[in-house]
């Protein structure tokens, strides 16, 4: 067994563990990333700066906002569509394909596309509004709405992915269960409430997990779309880290930010696994029997 794991283990140590530990180390230094190893030890200063950094705190707020919106809007929408597309009707394969297509585009291409659509002068979005006699909206330039526009684009891009997962989850439920329940006189509402929903539990829980982790790590789409602007209004944690590290050459501070991001993901993943995914993941790292099963 170990012989098969060792190549992966070595790669993991070299390319994951070592960089993580090095980032944790540099987070305690003031360092511009140039000239050998960091030497200017500053203790916890970078972390103190971070906790007073308005941009960092606002990043956390935006992560929360997008997470809430995703769970409240994006996932239910994907779920509803999956249920709809599970029905038998002509052309349903075409619809499934169509809804999944946005997910295939890379994030950078998606961002370029939407930059054109939301372009202030002759973008498609403003042109459509003009058709209704409505003035243009500062889609990407108004600091109060840009984050919602980004959420809209994220939804457009990712609902198809969640939809496919739900569809797969729905299809794995044996039809016999429904037939048996119908024989017992169950209504459509009851079928959904007592068969579909509970049996899709594992799928629902894993999509929430993927959605949250994806939100914490959001970078490419937003960076290409707005660079986090106007004035940090759409900035994500990863963009803040990137700007500090590679634009301002503050590698020490950027490392502290990356540690924060890592811990955020890790703590969430552990808690979520332990308390929410627990029954789906018998035998995983955090299960109560220590993974013996």
């Amino acid at each position: 067994m170990a012989a098969f794991i060792s190549p992966a283990l070595i790669l993991f140590v070299l390319f994951v563990l070592v960089p993580v530990l090095f980032a944790a180390y540099t987070a305690f230094f003031r360092w511009n990333g140039l000239g050998g190893f960091p030497t200017d030890f500053v203790g916890l200063e970078n972390f103190q700066t971070m906790l007073q950094d308005k941009v960092f705190l606002a990043d956390l707020w935006r992560i929360l906002l997008i997470t809430i919106l995703s769970i409240a809007v994006q996932l239910p929408m994907a779920f509803g569509l999956a249920m709809l597309l599970h029905q038998n009707f002509p052309g349903r394969t075409a619809f499934r394909l169509l809804f999944f297509v946005p997910y295939i585009l890379t994030e950078a291409v998606t961002a370029v596309l939407f930059r054109l659509i939301f372009s202030p002068r002759r973008g498609f979005a403003d042109a459509v509004l003009a058709g209704f006699g409505i003035d243009g909206i500062g889609w990407l330039s108004d600091k109060n709405i840009v984050i919602f526009v980004i959420f809209g684009i994220l939804t457009w891009k990712f609902f198809g992915f969640h939809m496919i997962l739900y569809l797969a989850g729905r299809q794995s439920i044996p039809e016999e269960l429904y037939e048996a329940a119908k024989v017992d006189g169950a209504t459509g509402k009851q079928l959904f409430r007592h068969i579909t929903l509970p049996l899709m539990g594992p799928t629902l829980r894993i999509t929430v997990f993927l959605s949250v982790i994806g939100t914490v790590q959001l970078f490419d789409l937003v960076y290409v779309l707005t660079k986090g602007g106007p004035f940090h209004a759409s900035e994500t944690l990863a963009i803040t880290m990137y700007e500090q590290g590679f634009v301002r050459n503050q590698i020490g501070y950027a490392s502290a930010l990356s540690i924060a991001m890592f811990l955020l993901s890790l703590v969430f993943a552990l808690i979520y696994q332990r308390y929410v995914l627990g029954r789906d993941l018998q035998g995983a790292l955090t299960s109560s029997d220590g993974g013996r099963s």
Partner: protein, 426 residues
């Protein structure tokens, strides 16, 4: 259960994997091409894109060295170069603006000292200043010029403005006049931040003078009243809403950005460097506004020691990475040959850096003439602050300029942010 890790075959497998992994790590580090010389420039539009390529090909033919040319849009270039800087591996020949960014690369030992270049007599010594650090030269220039207002004469006339403004009060009055005439007074690529920093820098130059600016950079203290007032004047200008719709997220060079808005004649002016007219044509995909485009220097500000003959400026140059082959000096000299300088100046619509300008640019067009005239009247120049200062401070100034214009920061916040950045740099 036997532990398979202690079996010889497993050990061999693990060892092989380790070697492979290390090999992969070693290869992964060098993103280098097979070419002898890698050359990164930022003129990613024709005609200049082809001109650099042609010059590289010709030299390659002559010298037997292979050259790989990468034309990269300016924002992407800055990003990629800073990643390369972190990796400690700069291209063999790459675009630079000199100043603090180049100095940081030099300090890290990543740049080749070219003080001994045999062909420096072909260059105007003034153009070498930005690239000279502690008495040593690290780059050759190909362009030198100034930042000022490029304006649309037709739109000014349409609003009834006959003379260009020479004071800030006149300037803001003209902005109001243009607005009243239904014309967008100013094009601004607010999303890119650096086009905004020109305004704050110029206002600071006028209000505290170049000496005051140098003293502030020396002490890292920008708290003086002049700096706060500079921020206030910029905030007041922004409050007049003189910029095109959507400027908050507009870039400088994209098809809906600052330069394109000017090139299509949709705004009356932009504060930009000598490359402005060319990018107006490139970004808008038009012929620009031709003879209607003219230039006036950033106006003087009442009560400040700075004069309108002090210019914010700089140019483009090429530095060589420390690992570049020795032939790179030959390539640099090839680029500096007068007939080659002439091609660059002509195709790129640049202002000349030649020791003998007539040999390179016998008949400047009206845009080049405007820059030449400005340089001729210049009593002093200041390099763009986002290049002159170390990256953390330059970026802070860019960022704070955006915050100020969007009303997110007060002039006092601005100064505090810059001071904080300097304090962190000490």
């Amino acid at each position: 259960m036997r532990n398979p890790l202690f079996r010889p075959r497993a050990l061999v497998a693990a060892g092989t994997a380790a070697v492979l992994a290390l090999g992969a790590a070693a290869c992964g580090d060098s993103g280098e091409s097979d070419a002898d010389v890698t050359f990164w420039h930022i003129q990613n539009e024709d005609p200049m894109k082809s001109t650099w390529q042609a010059l590289a090909d010709e030299w390659s033919e002559e010298s037997g060295q292979t050259v790989e040319v990468s034309a990269i849009a300016v924002e992407d270039f800055k990003t990629r170069l800073s990643t390369q800087t972190q990796a400690g591996d700069l291209p063999d020949l790459y675009n630079t603006w000199g100043g603090g960014v180049l100095a940081e690369q030099v300090e890290a030992g990543l740049v080749r000292d070219i003080s001994g270049l045999p062909c420096l007599d072909k260059v105007n010594p003034i153009a070498l200043e930005s690239y000279t650090i502690d008495g040593k030269l690290y780059a050759i220039p190909f362009d030198q010029g100034v930042v000022g207002f490029w304006y649309n004469k037709d739109l000014f006339a349409q609003a009834g403005i006959t003379d260009t403004p020479t004071t800030w009060a006149e300037f803001t009055e003209d902005v109001q006049t243009l607005k009243d005439a239904g014309i967008t007074p100013i094009a601004l690529g607010g999303g890119d931040k650096w086009p905004i920093h020109y305004y704050w820098t110029y206002l600071a130059m006028r209000l505290v003078g170049l000496d005051g600016l140098a003293a502030a950079a020396e002490s890292g203290d920008f708290s003086g009243p002049g700096f706060v007032q500079a921020g206030q004047l910029l905030a007041d200008l922004a409050a007049m809403e003189p910029f095109q719709e959507g400027f908050e997220s507009a870039t400088y060079g994209e098809a809906d950005g600052e330069a394109a808005v000017m090139g299509e004649g949709l705004a009356a002016m932009e504060l930009m460097g000598q490359w402005g007219p060319q990018v107006q044509r490139d970004a808008s995909g038009t012929e620009g506004i031709g003879e209607s485009l003219a230039f006036f220097p950033f106006p003087a500000v009442e009560g400040g020691p700075g004069t309108a003959t002090e210019f914010l400026g700089g140019g483009g140059g090429f530095a060589a990475g420390a690992d570049a082959p020795d032939e790179i000096e030959d390539f640099m000299c090839y680029l500096l040959e007068e007939q080659n300088q002439a091609r660059v100046v002509k195709d790129g619509n640049m202002s000349t850096v030649a020791a003998n300008p007539e040999a390179v640019l016998p008949e400047p067009n009206h845009e080049q003439q405007a820059v030449i005239d400005a340089l001729a009247t210049a009593t002093d120049t200041q390099l763009y602050l986002d290049q002159a200062y170390p990256p953390s401070i330059g970026s802070t100034i860019n960022d704070a300029s955006q915050g100020l214009v969007l009303g997110e920061l007060t002039p006092e916040d601005f100064v505090a942010m810059v001071n904080e950045a300097w304090a962190a740099e000490q």
